[in-house]
Amino acid sequence: MRKEKKNMRILNVWTHMRRSPYQTLAAVVTMFLTMLLAGLFFLATIFSSLVLQYFEGKPQITVFFADKATVTDADSLKKTLESTGKVASLKYVSKDDALAIYRQQNKNDPLLLEMVTADILPASLEVSATDPNYLRDLDPIIRKAQGVEEVVFQKDVVDSLLRWTHAVRWVGGILVGLLSLNSILIVMTIIGMKIALKKDEIEILKLVGASPWYIQTPFIVEGGLYGTLGAIVSWMIIMGVMLWLRPMLMGFLGMIPLISTIFGSLTTWAFAGVAGGFLLFLGLVGFLLGSIGSFVALSRYLKF
């Protein structure tokens, strides 16, 4: 019975929202934009963290050999590096090993597998120093070695990624913060107008002994619903974009195990769990933002 009564009150809130469609639309659209941007920056932050983790977990230097280089060239470089006493680990990845890794990473895409053979993949040597400061000493030794075509320092990649990630976080944080403030102000204005319109009803409720909570709840729920509706729409758009970009995402970030597990197949529990969790997260943040707007309006326009 109690549940039934609460449902009735929620229905009343819904009726109030429908009675002022333009105000509702304004609030939902503003919330949608905020949640869309918040959702996109949230995902960008997650993805960039995963990419960072991936590169941080890789060897500090990867030495790629030219096609004409022989195994002897690689062995010679290994010995030279070991003799410095500054190397913690060394791993030689032959052309065949590289192909095996490539096949493992692209096992779900037969077209990509058909196009690549061991000949076009370079052999490489993965080097980790005992101390990152030694990398500067090892660099000239590696570059002078026979058969070396390219040297990739993961530190450079990670530093570059870190700079981008920080920039994305700052810009995203400021934009989301400003839009959140805007959403709160819009919900506050709309709820403030509704409080003014219902002044007589609120006065009667107070006089007959309704508790502050009883009077305030519908307004808080209404603000929260604006946020939740905006969040649901933004989730649908973000998921649509993600599905559309999925092949590209897998191409760029497929080597990261977590991304490959989630986006490898859309029929897995992993994908459903992440999509559902993301909806829940956006919905909760939207509800919270809308409720804050209502709270501010109530504390400003409704005195007990």
Binding site: M1, R2, E4, K5, D200, E201, E203, I204, L205, K206, L207, V208, G209, A210, S211, P212, Y214, F304
Partner: protein
């Protein structure tokens, strides 16, 4: 029991609405509050539901000092003290049933209890056949009955009525008085502010007369002593 101890109320601009009021009203009493316009009757009632706060003195309802009641607890006082208004104060988008049910919804009662109790009270005030009507479809008397039903549905121990017959014709006024008498019979204390000379003189209940914010008379079986000023106004209205 209601007790006013040296209560004064001054509004801004130094208008004194009540001055040094000391009075006691026992449980289950039916008290008329009379006096000319501006005498302080409405302020007296407003103080009892903390719609306004006394400038001086203390007001007790049973053991409760309502002068110091925090704002967040005022709703508890208003559940104990039902109020009937001259202008009815009904929600126009709700039916008679829904308006009366409001008094129980705010208490968190379940639908079944609300339905049973509301139908009983609607029956008591003689509105059974109008329960699905909206306020704008009702006569003034019916609206006032709805207001009374809403005020008593939660079972308050005190019922305040501020000019409940002010907008009603004589016959309807008597119908409302009959309902109030019935409510008193179940032990509810009733304080009714009125200008209705006939009602006060006929019922012969305790009558507190206020003038310029002071109690000028407090009689057990009081009468409405019409002042020359009021008499003139009444004659003018009759003509």
């Amino acid at each position: 029991m209601i007790r006013f101890d040296n209560v004064s109320k001054q509004f801004s601009g130094h208008t004194s609405a009540l001055s040094d009021i000391t009075v006691e009203i026992k449980d289950g009493e039916f008290v008329f509050l009379i006096g000319p316009s501006g005498a302080g009757k409405t302020t007296f009632l407003r103080l009892l539901i903390r719609d306004t706060v006394s400038t001086k003195g203390v007001i007790h309802i049973d053991d409760w000092n309502i002068s110091t009641l925090p704002s967040s607890k005022i709703y508890l006082l208003r559940r104990k003290v039902g109020t009937v208004f001259q202008d009815f104060k009904l929600l126009t988008d709700r039916t008679v049933f829904e308006n009366v049910a409001l008094g129980l919804e705010i208490l968190g009662k379940n639908s079944k209890d609300i339905s049973t109790r509301v139908l009983d009270v609607i029956e008591l005030v003689g509105l059974a056949d109008k329960r699905n009507s909206f306020p704008l479809q009702l006569s003034a008397g019916e609206m006032q009955r709805t207001g009374i039903a809403r005020a008593i549905v939660g079972g308050p121990s005190i019922l305040l009525a501020d000019e409940p017959t002010g907008n009603l014709d004589p016959q309807t006024s008597w119908d409302i008085l009959d309902i109030l008498k019935e409510i008193q019979k179940i032990g509810t204390t009733i304080i009714m502010a009125t200008h209705n000379v006939n009602v006060v003189n006929e019922l012969k209940r305790r009558t507190i007369t206020l003038n310029k914010g002071r109690i000028v008379r407090d009689e057990e079986k009081g009468k409405y002593h019409v002042t020359i000023h009021e008499k003139g106004k009444k004659e003018h209205a009759d003509s």
